[in-house]
Amino acid sequence: MDDVLELTGVTRQFGRAGPVALRGVSLRVPAGSFVSVMGATGSGKSTLLHCAAGLDRPTAGAVRLAGRDISRMRERTLTRLRRDRIGFVFQSYNLLSELTVRQNVLLPFRLGGPRGRPLAEVLARVGLTGLERRPVGELSGGQRQRVAIARALVTAPAVVFADEPTGALDPTTGGQVLRLLRDAVDRDGLTVVMVTHDPLAAAVSDRLVLLRDGRLVADSPTPDAAEIAARLRAVSTSAVTVPA
């Protein structure tokens, strides 16, 4: 199957002498797959997501997204590509709190994007039917995350990037959110790349990628939650060297 996302030797350094978050990471993601990216705090997983999604630019290396090289793309073109082909779900929701559910979900269209899927269908999919006119600021955390998922799905994007989507939610609500993402992969053939530190969340994915100190150290089909936790512990503890 075609790769919808391809990273080649991606390096990201903050400032000329600053910290290096990614060191030559290469990764290919075929369309229709659900990839989890895990690693200890500071391992570079959020930076990987930002570079892959065109929110940040790598210092070196190339990123191809939906068949186009985005690492040297002009800001305007990149922004349009993001609007039309990429969906985002963040831990902190990132919604406009004073606007309604409808206004938030339709944001990509108000910014000039093409019509993707009908609003009613998307809201029904995430279980928000009837809440269109409510301001997002009045909703619960779980409902807000559903609004964010609805906004990510409404453009029928090539890839959805999720950064700790269950980080601020209780296990039950978090489970519902993960099922929505899993559903989007199985029923709509969507591609999801998710950064998480929760083994239970990672367990719903097809493929597990582990990062340590900005390097890709493991890439395999996703095992069960207990095995994920064990592998995560292994890369986390060996990463921390406590001076005597």
Binding site: G15, A53, R83, G112
Partner: protein
């Protein structure tokens, strides 16, 4: 079409627009006052002698300068105040950028916000300016600066002109302020941890010292020159010293901060706060030093001349000089208060943490008052240095004395004025913030 950023910003942070609104209100007031003055001078039914007397004064020219000054300072200060307004929308802008808003669209959304606030600013500014102009024209006639036949006349042109200036200055200032925030990579705005910024502290301080020393040397050298040449150099001296003081702002505050330490635990806390926030607070220090230094030079030049010669300068010169300085000072005051309010608002979480750790409202306000005293003292001292270095050679050239004379009333007015402004920017917003339960404020994003 701003995709809701304008509505979101106006609803979520209505108070963050106070700075731009105040600036544009002042700008439209100054512009409509200038137009009113021109109409009053031009429309007065004067005889030939009266017209000659009016032309002999600079009053009519001054009215034109007033309009231009209002436009220029509006654009400048809207850029400064709008930058703080935009900074509060950082997360929302980052969200729009991830969702597909181009930098151009973000800039347009910010320009729309400025255009929206231009309308209430005009509605408030024109009546204020008209009242001020009425009083000003009256006082000019009363002091014999212009013929007594000149009476105030309102011109309806003031309304469209003021609205045009408010819209133009607001949009231009907002666009200038939005250049950087609109271009920032979304990932940078979304990440919680700040990327360590390059510290240019030593370089900044070095250039500041260089400018201060250079300005002083120039001032000393100019004291041997004829009066008119010295006066021309005086402008260069003021510029060098003010830019120098601006660059030295953080360093000055860091030096001044420990002076609060002897005042008990409140003082120690205030000293730490000022030292940590020296950079942010210096944004308020610059307009304060500029305005106080400038006003002190103007006032002291006149009072010393009157003191030495035994007679006052012609009322016409004094009044026009003071009126012009007043406009400068008013704009600088808006910039200073806005900068201070911005600092306090960004400390919302910290103030809440102080209270959760056991500080009473009174004690928190005590700390802030103490910080306000430090900022006031630093601003006054720096302004006094700028004024003295600039003025002494000029006084020597013109009057043959190195001893300036400033009546105690003026001195008290400067001290109280600066402290009043600093308290308005630091203590008043904190008192409002502290009404909110601490636990609510502790959790909010900055």
């Amino acid at each position: 079409m701003s995709a809701g950023l304008t509505r979101q910003a106006l609803r979520k942070h209505p108070w963050s627009f106070a700075g731009p609104v105040a600036t544009l209100t002042l700008g439209t007031a100054v512009v409509s006052a200038g137009i009113g003055a021109q109409t009053s001078f031009g429309g007065a039914g004067l005889d030939a002698a009266g017209r000659r007397a009016l032309a002999a004064t600079d009053a009519a020219d001054f009215a034109t300068v007033l309009v231009l000054l209002g436009i220029y300072l509006s654009i400048l200060i809207v850029t400064v105040t709008m930058a703080a307004t935009i900074a509060r929308q950082g997360r929302d802008i980052a969200l729009l950028r991830t969702a597909g808003a181009t930098p151009g669209r973000v800039r347009r959304a910010v320009a729309i916000q400025a255009a929206v606030v231009a309308i209430p600013a005009t509605l408030a500014g024109v009546p204020l300016g008209t009242l001020a102009c009425q009083a000003w024209v009256g006082s000019l006639a009363g002091h014999g600066v212009v013929p007594t036949a000149v009476a105030f006349r309102f011109s309806a042109v003031a309304w469209p002109a003021a609205l045009g200036v408010a819209l133009g200055a607001g949009v231009l200032g907002a666009l200038a302020a939005a250049v950087r925030p609109a271009r920032v990579r979304p990932a940078v705005a979304l990440t919680e941890t700040a990327v360590p910024r390059r510290t240019f502290g030593p370089v900044r301080t070095g250039i500041g010292v260089l400018l201060a020393v250079g300005g002083t040397v120039l001032a000393v050298a100019s004291s041997t020159l004829p009066a008119d040449q010295a006066e021309d150099l005086g402008l260069l001296v003021v510029l060098a010293l003010c830019v120098g003081a601006g660059l030295l702002g953080p360093a000055l505050l860091r030096v001044a901060a420990p002076l609060a330490r002897p005042f008990g635990r409140v003082g120690a806390l205030a000293a730490d706060n000022v030292a940590v926030r020296a950079r942010a607070l210096s944004a308020a220090l610059v307009p304060l030093v500029l305005s106080v230094g400038f006003a002190a030079i103007k006032v002291t030049a006149h009072t010393t001349a009157a003191h030495v010669r035994g007679i006052a300068d012609p009322a016409a010169d004094v009044w026009l000089d003071y009126s012009g300085s007043g406009v400068f000072v008013a704009f600088a005051a808006v910039a200073a208060v806005n900068a201070l309010i911005t600092v306090v608002l960004s400390r919302r979480g910290e103030l809440a943490a102080l209270r959760l750790a056991g500080a009473t409202r009174g004690r928190v306000l005590g700390v802030l008052t103490c910080e306000a005293v430090v900022v006031t003292g630093t601003a006054l001292l720096a302004a006094a240095c700028v004024a003295a270095v600039t003025l002494l050679p000029l006084l020597h050239g013109a009057l043959g004395t190195f001893l300036p004379y400033l009546p105690a009333g003026w001195l008290a007015a400067f001290v109280l004025g600066v402290f009043g402004l600093v308290a308005l920017g630091m203590v008043a917003p904190a008192a409002v913030l502290l009404r909110q339960p601490a636990i609510e404020a502790a959790g909010v994003e900055p």
